[in-house]
Symmetry: C2
Subunit: 406 residues, 2 copies
């Protein structure tokens, strides 16, 4: 069995345990440890309302080295005021204490990051979480099973665990990047979140690690829209142990570009898994917008199409309903030339230079009915382009989000 | 039977007939005539891609008097290029010609307005439409039945006809305003539209008629979001026959304010009917945002909440899931004070000054389970407020929009 979990890279231990935060009794505390200390980068939600864990991790990621990341699912610890903030700090302190006791280390609270996901507005059952942390500490291992236990412990409404791994070579050294992710957008039964954890044994300077994570997330997770909103808890953390033996990447040279490319591959792999496992989703699609006057317009139009409920419904029905795509573009406020506007489904033109194209409707339906297809729109006014990933809107999404009661 | 249709005001004739544009065989051409000539105002979609009828009516509304409005359903005549534009002009010309022949009048093409709704990207079957126009001309009447026939002819996926009427007094004269509307947002099987037609016997100057229509639509139809987009065809037309005998309203005085208030009542009545008849909708809600730094922020936050799929699903489930409301507010980019942020469902606080409120969950569920309820959010940073209407998101919406095939 190839290890594709977060323990695939050298220098990481993981665990996932049950402590009763989730009513379902499923695993709800995950622990990821880098005993040699990791260089760390992180990205967080842009929501103005942030969960306690986000506030604490934003502080702690400034520390030079990170030894552990502790995660709970089943409770977002968001909109929970001062008590919530104190509880997030307690999780970090308890993790450091538990590891120090078990492993004779001297980790500080600020050398631990924390993330939470689950129901909003309820106080975290901190006593249970602390028991979970001790239990996870006792089960830490570098096995694929331990890595998968971590992944299982961060899931909420996900129906499948999501892992991705790439090995690439730099100057004769094999470097590994492995990631795991939960959820996509706001997809939980009450309020779930996107949590992303990536481990690598590459040696990379902290500023470049941050730059690479920001760029990779920008072109992958930030390009996926399930229901158009960022949650209070979105967190992405990249830990680099530096144990692969490469000379540390400290400049934006070819080695950096190779690392960044492999990191983007891992993130894109995870995004595809997220889109296809979004609540109720059965299909995903990529929207490419070309010919835009500005980069901002290209991004805005791509997202408007991917977010548009009628486009999402049409994809669900395998319906090549290009009128809805054109309508979404027309109403999103970007500059466009009506007489040059064109739209393709994969390589098939359905609308060209402002007029309906003649096309084989059965062929078009077959394209839209695939698990993945690409919608390309040319605005006809410039040379900028951008893209976005979306998934279909189904009765399953409605039932998951309407039938649950607070 | 009280006449609540568009023939309720003095001076209007209407008709609605079947001519085969709709495959279903349902009525698809409506005609509204003001033999004495009406002062007219209109509002149109802000979508960058506009239907042929919108382009023609934008020109024709500049004419001093309007004698007729011709409407077809079953075909949007949008994204149809030069042929489509020529067909929209033909509808106006044919209406003038048909009326002139039948009634010995001398109407010009530019004294007729036109509107279309239905499938996008297919050429209008103009020969059928012209037959429909002649047929409608022959059936014109000022009866309630004729008014309802017009309303039935403009419907697409609407399950119910929608009419509203108000009578008010100005200096001893009884004035009537009556309106009809179809659809809400983009709600059609392929691409439907909102069409609004209002008749009044009040005498009002053209500039003030325009101001009153813009204000009333701004505080009613433009405050309703079903799926967040404006279509290519949205059109609202207000015709004033001036036959009620009031001294013409030419200044922004008390008489104008009475007229504007009655017009807003008619539009608000229609909006409630639209929201509750939106595709798949079973409930509506009003979002009020207070304490905003700017009017723009208040409007943006209200709309973000009303458009947010997870809020719409929660309303469908009768779930007082305030976390989703707070999340929508937090992610929409408006200025807010996290420590002062509050949220009420009707009069029940569920979140107050940045912390969860203690509330009776059963009582909260009962509020959200009503046919209509109000969500009030206080951003805690200013004194501006605005509102928005929304409806629930249901499996019915998905099935209507996914199961239909182009």
């Amino acid at each position: 069995m190839t290890n594709e979990s977060v323990t695939a890279a050298k220098g990481f231990l993981a665990a996932g345990v049950k402590c009763g935060i989730k009513v379902s009794g499923k695993p709800d505390v995950g622990l990821l440890v880098c005993p040699t200390g990791a260089t760390t980068a992180a990205v967080f939600t842009t929501n103005a309302i942030t969960a306690a864990a986000v506030r604490v991790s934003r502080e702690h990621v400034k520390t030079r080295r990170t030894y552990a990341v502790v995660v709970n699912s089943g409770n977002a610890n968001a909109c929970t005021g001062k008590i919530g903030l104190a509880n997030a700090r307690k999780m970090c302190a308890a993790t450091a204490k538990s590891l120090n006791a078990a492993r004779a280390t001297h980790y500080a609270q600020r050398e631990v990051l924390v993330a939470s996901t689950g129901i909003i507005g309820e106080q975290l059952p901190i006593a249970k979480a602390l028991v979970g942390i001790d239990k996870a500490t006792a089960e830490l291992a570098d096995s694929p099973q331990a890595g998968m236990a971590f992944t299982n412990a961060i899931m909420t409404t996900d129906t499948k665990p999501k892992c991705a791994m790439r090995v690439f070579r730099l100057a004769g050294k094999a470097l590994t990047i492995a990631g795991t992710v939960k959820g996509a957008g706001m997809i939980g039964p009450n309020m779930a979140t996107t949590l992303l954890f990536i481990t690598t044994d590459a040696a990379v300077s902290k500023p470049l690690l941050g730059a690479a994570l920001k760029a990779a997330v920008g072109d992958s997770l930030n390009k996926l829209t399930v229901d158009g909103h960022q949650s209070t808890n979105d967190t992405g953390i990249l830990l680099a142990s530096g144990l692969a033996g490469n000379r540390s990447i400290t400049r934006r040279d070819q080695n950096y570009r190779k690392f960044a490319a492999a990191l983007l591959e891992v993130c894109t792999d995870l995004v595809r898994q997220m889109a296809l496992d979004a609540e109720g989703a059965t299909r995903m699609f990529e929207v490419v917008v070309k010919g835009a006057a500005t980069q901002g317009d290209a991004a805005k139009a791509a997202r408007a199409i991917a977010d548009y409920p009628l486009v999402k419904c049409a994809v669900h029905g395998g319906d090549p309903n290009w009128g809805r795509i054109i309508c979404a573009v027309g109403s999103c406020g970007v500059k466009l030339a009506p007489a040059k506007l064109s739209c393709k489904l994969d390589q098939l033109y359905v609308f060209r230079n402002g007029a309906p194209a003649r096309f084989d409707v059965e062929k078009a339906s077959a394209i839209v009915s695939q698990t993945e297809h690409t919608i390309t729109v040319d605005l006809g006014v410039g040379a900028k382009s951008d893209f976005c990933y979306g998934c279909d809107l189904t009765a399953g999404y409605v039932s998951i989000n309407a039938d649950y009661h607070t």
